[in-house]
């Protein structure tokens, strides 16, 4: 029944969901969803470079996304353009350049759909190692910068005044965002990675009363989405990424029912 590739996809998805849970909460709290999108779009460029230079995909995506994030920070300092315009500029230009490069790589068979929407067939044992080791590293670093990052998310000046160095935490968090996109691109696909970050966290926000609870519910929501999504992907022969995201949307709708109930209770 359950083939090897499916087990591999499940293990990969679980690894991704454990990491996107807490990171996704920060994406929601810090309003970074368009930033996540921009990094994800730039991942295509990373993938094409990996193919053309026969390089590891996750590593190449990580490098390119980090460069795009650093470019964004520099552009914010040096231009008067608003943040969303800069994000759009970087997202679409890196996507376009990536697609142009693909055109030159006609000698390689390219599964562009798999790249955009995820492909469970493509998950190899090497990918599992990258996801679990990379994911563990991301969580470890996030734990180390949790205090300054969370404090500056609540209030930057308090964190700065009380000696927590929020700027450093923010820079490290940016790198973590690039890293999670790099390790999860094969699972969810680059168009839907931000959904994996935001939707379980948004679902968790609806049902939690403290930041810790929100992180835990966000992880649980991500895990359920992966399991539900992958099984239905196998059942209905759909792409893994959209199936996972659709499952997380389903959970989000359920969490809305919870809100309605609590409002009724208050009245």
């Amino acid at each position: 029944m359950l083939d090897d590739f499916f087990i591999r996809a499940l293990i990969a998805g679980i690894g991704v969901a454990i990491v996107t849970g807490p990171l996704g909460c920060f994406v929601v709290w810090r309003r970074l969803s368009y930033f996540g999108d921009t990094l994800a779009h730039s991942a295509l460029l990373g993938v094409t470079l990996a193919y053309s230079m026969e390089f590891n995909i996750a590593f190449s995506v990580f490098i390119i996304s980090s460069l795009i994030a650093l470019t964004l920070i520099q552009l914010q300092k040096r231009t008067n353009l608003p943040g969303d315009a800069l994000l759009g500029l970087l997202a679409h230009s890196s996507l376009a350049v990536g697609l142009v490069v693909i055109g030159f790589l006609s000698f390689i068979r390219f599964d562009i759909m798999g790249l955009l929407f995820g492909d469970i067939l493509a998950v190899t044992v090497d990918d599992l190692l990258i996801i679990w080791i990379g994911g563990a590293l991301i969580l470890l670093v996030l734990k180390l910068i949790w205090k300054p990052l969370f404090a500056s998310t609540v209030n930057y000046e308090l964190a700065e005044a009380e000696g927590l160095n929020p700027d450093r935490a923010k820079a490290i968090f940016t790198i973590l965002m690039a890293a999670i996109i790099a390790i999860s691109i094969k699972m969810v696909g680059l168009l839907l990675i931000t959904g994996m970050l935001i939707i379980p966290a948004a679902m968790a926000r609806n049902i939690s009363s403290s930041p810790q609870k929100m992180v835990i519910y966000s992880i649980i929501g991500g895990l359920l989405s992966v399991i539900l999504g992958l099984f239905s992907s196998l059942e209905f022969n759909t792409a893994s990424g959209p199936s996972i995201i659709a499952a997380s949307l389903f959970l989000f709708i359920l969490s809305l029912l919870n809100i309605k109930q609590s409002i009724k209770l208050k009245n």
């Binding site: 404090a151 609540v154 308090l158 926000r205």
Partner: protein, 248 residues
């Protein structure tokens, strides 16, 4: 008295400009252990800016700032918290430092908001939130406390009690306090040093000295000057009432 070891933060001709406009310029002051330094001045005179320079929030400053402690508690004048965060009072208390339950409860009790511990921060009234902010700042037993209008929005009796609490904390923890206040009545009795700002330091010294200063009179009017000197005169009375609180 003022040995250099006791200095917590020292500003030397410090200033800060934004968009080519000076918010404050040429401020020199120092806060020592166990002393309360109060900044007064009209709106827009650079009080909050001076506090942020002292705290190191503004980095591209003119002049020098020397900070000798990292144990800082800060109550900002304005605080905007994003309600995309589910944040209870209890979570807010441990924002910048991990504290045990007793310490949190003690600080919340001192400012009279222990009953709000499990409430969502967004559901508090202005005055309640102000008390939580103060509790958070004192709970970590800081060496330097920077209070930017710490009792705004607090009811009248609460205001007096909180100022007495601030004075008590300064004595008990032997911490230095940089206080910003509009309320000349309540504050001056406990202040060791007053700095009167108006884009620059217009005068500074003991409350009595400042009250006599002509620039101060020009800025605040004759009546304010009388308030300061009157409270200087009633200094003893405040000490007695403070002793009564300690008995409690």
């Amino acid at each position: 008295m003022s040995s250099s070891q006791n200095i917590l933060v020292k500003l030397n001709e410090a200033g800060f400009s934004l968009n080519n406009k000076w918010l404050v310029k040429g401020v020199s002051l120092q806060v020592e252990k166990g002393k309360i330094v109060t900044l007064i001045g009209p709106n827009g005179s650079g009080k909050s800016t001076t506090a942020k320079i002292a705290l190191g929030i503004y980095k591209k400053i003119d002049g020098e700032v020397e900070k000798y402690t990292n144990k800082v508690g800060y109550v900002p004048q304005k605080i905007s918290i994003d309600w995309t965060l589910p944040l209870r009072v209890n979570d807010f208390m441990v924002l910048t430092e991990n504290l045990n339950k007793e310490t949190i409860d003690e600080a919340l009790s001192l400012t009279g908001v222990i009953h709000l511990k499990d409430k969502n921060l967004g559901d508090l009234s202005g005055g309640e939130f102000q008390r939580v902010l103060l509790a958070r700042a004192i709970s970590k037993k800081p060496e330097l406390l920077v209070l930017d209008e710490p009792v705004q929005g607090v009811d009248f009796t609460g205001e007096i009690a909180l100022y007495e609490l601030i004075k008590k904390i300064s004595d008990e923890l032997n911490c230095g306090i940089l206080l910003i206040s509009h309320d000349l009545h309540t504050v001056m009795s406990a202040t060791d040093h007053v700095v009167c700002l108006n884009g620059h330091v217009c005068c500074s010294g003991s409350p009595m000295d400042v009250a006599k200063n002509n620039e101060y009179k020009a800025l605040f009017g004759e009546q304010a000057s009388q308030i300061l000197s009157r409270y200087e005169h009633r200094h003893d009375h405040v000490h007695t009432s403070e002793g009564e609180i300690k008995k409690n």
